[in-house]
Amino acid sequence: MSETKPSVELKKVVKRFAGVPAVRELDLVIPQGEFFSLLGPSGCGKSTTLRLIGGLERPDSGEILIDGEVVNDVPPYRRSSNIVFQNYALFPHLTIADNVAFGLRLRSRRTPAAEVEPRVEEVLELVHLEGFGKRYPDELSGGQQQRVALARALVLNPRVLLLDEPLGALDRKLRKDMQIELRRLQAELGITFLYVTHDQEEAMSMSDRVAVMRDGRFEQVAPPEEIFQKPKTRFTADFMGASNILSGKVRAADPDQSDGHSKDRLSIDLDSGITITSEKKDGVGPGDRVEFSVRPDDIYLRPPGDDLDTDNRFEGSITEKVYLGDVTEFDIDLGGGISLVCRSESREAQRLDLRKNQAVLVGWDAEDCNLLDG
């Protein structure tokens, strides 16, 4: 029965700190076994949401349910969730083995003493830390401490694992490895993961679904691809790196009947005078003011005079060129106060010999124009 119930459910949850709202009427349903991420800048309420679910904060109003049961008044030590803290919060006075065994040894859990040690060994093996049991936390590297924190939570077989920026303090390479590791563990154990992060790449690469948070509200809750390709709001678009946000007025639907799928198109006059073609969107008609985003890597660049077979095509000039390794980033001035950020593969950019202060042909397809909600 309980398998059909959502793992975590929030109903109009509100939390204020000294009168200042941190979380505003959140509604959320996380099904069993999902890898769900809360993504947002610092102060957006994502950690507070996690602490509310873990029981470290109490909601001012609304309901929190775990496995279908309201847990508003259940203290953290009686909840079937466990937290992996941002800075690990390992007990410095206990060995690794004792840290991991902490929860098991509590009287409330009633684990027979003979079972504790094998369980601890088993979990340390799961996080690749076999043989580290006798050491103290300060003798371990950041990555190892992180895995101890994980083991300490996992050993209790939680129904929900709450991870509060667990990889924030690790270097890039280690973070990548741990991301894969976490995904593997989650698939293997089938536990619901609620993952809090401000790193959009991290959220993208691991999650089944992502909630983008801002000022205590969800801006958008969707699978990573959708958030990435079809951000609903200006904030989400910007946060996901779709930094080209333009605005204009819809002139007409169906601007050009000669094109085969023109019925799905909109013609938008930008404030600077140029007109672009975009995909149609429900509820948007002639005369409406709209904003839309274009991802930097959806924009094509060609030397002037080259062919460029895109729905939108303009002349511009390169005002800045930054080499980033795999990709090269260009700032393009389209005139009329419009500038775009474009990203090309570095090899492609080299082949086309695109240089700073040079004229350039810029283009993108109608389907890559993502209309934002008002």
Binding site: G54, G55, L56, P75, P76, Y77, R78, S81, N82, I83, F85, Q86, N87, A89, L90, F91, P92, H93, F102, G103, L106, R107, S108, R109, R152, A153, L156
Partner: protein, 258 residues
């Protein structure tokens, strides 16, 4: 320039240490001097140590001092821990005021403290003796103990307690298994400070001791009224050396444990 300043600093440090510890060394030196009155060196002897250790008055005074200092350490550290919890962990009206009041006994002149306590004890009809000394010592030790423990408490990461609760420990278990072990260095430090604080006190003890009961500092005072004898030097040396050795052993043990 860069060459000169270390030399100057070395000289300064030597002078400073001589100023601080020179008198102490002279006292120690004379405690082994055969000559009873003179300041001239007449040879090495342990005679004064034998005398002082056999002196019944000194023995009784030492007993009294320990009888005060040990319970004082235990009680004021205990109360200090509880007070620190109350002040640091709770938000209540007058919290800041209470913490401010805690500092006052540390700044108040001992004379005033002594007179006030004497007034209190006589007005409620307590007869002066070991008990009143103990009460007085506890009174001036609690602020010290509390402040030391609050200092340690401020350095404990609250998330460790949250982690314990998250792992299934209720409030009491969390306190017992996480907070107190982490607070232990603070509690020990407070005990190590309170002990000499109580053991060495002279002024306040002088007011509240009454006749008949006398701690070691009071005994030393009455001994030097008739002149500085080598036995006083020997006693002074012992009072300095014994706690020093204990503390050094403690530090060494602490180092080995880690």
């Amino acid at each position: 320039m860069t060459r000169k300043s270390p030399k100057f600093l070395t000289a300064f440090c030597v002078a400073l240490f001589l100023f601080m510890y020179g008198p102490l060394f002279i006292l120690m030196l004379y405690s082994f001097n055969v000559s009873e009155y003179g300041v001239d060196w007449q040879g090495f002897t342990l005679q004064w140590y034998k005398e002082i250790l056999a002196n019944a008055n000194v023995q009784n005074a030492l007993k009294a001092s320990l009888l005060v200092a040990i319970p004082c350490v235990v009680i004021s550290t205990l109360i200090g821990t509880l007070t620190a919890f109350a002040i640091y962990r709770n938000q209540f009206l007058g919290r800041g005021l209470l913490q401010g009041i805690l500092y006052i006994p540390l700044l108040m002149p001992d004379l005033v403290m002594g007179v006030t306590l004497l007034l209190l004890f006589t007005s409620i009809g307590l007869s002066l003796g070991i008990m009143t000394i103990l009460f007085a010592h506890i009174a001036f030790s609690i602020p010290l103990a509390t402040l030391v423990i609050i200092g340690r408490m401020a350095r404990i990461d609250r998330r460790l307690e949250e982690a314990a609760m998250d792992l299934g420990a209720d409030e009491l278990t969390t306190m017992w298994k996480v907070t107190l072990p982490l607070l232990m260095p603070g509690i020990l430090a407070s005990a190590l400070l309170v002990f000499p604080w109580s053991f060495n006190d002279f002024v306040i003890t002088y007011f509240v001791s009454g006749v008949g009961s006398s701690t070691l500092p009071l005994r030393v005072y009455s001994m030097i009224r008739v002149g500085v004898s080598p036995t006083v030097n020997a006693l002074g040396t012992l009072i300095v050396i014994v706690p020093l050795v204990i503390v050094i052993i403690g530090i060494l043990l602490e180092k080995r444990r880690v």
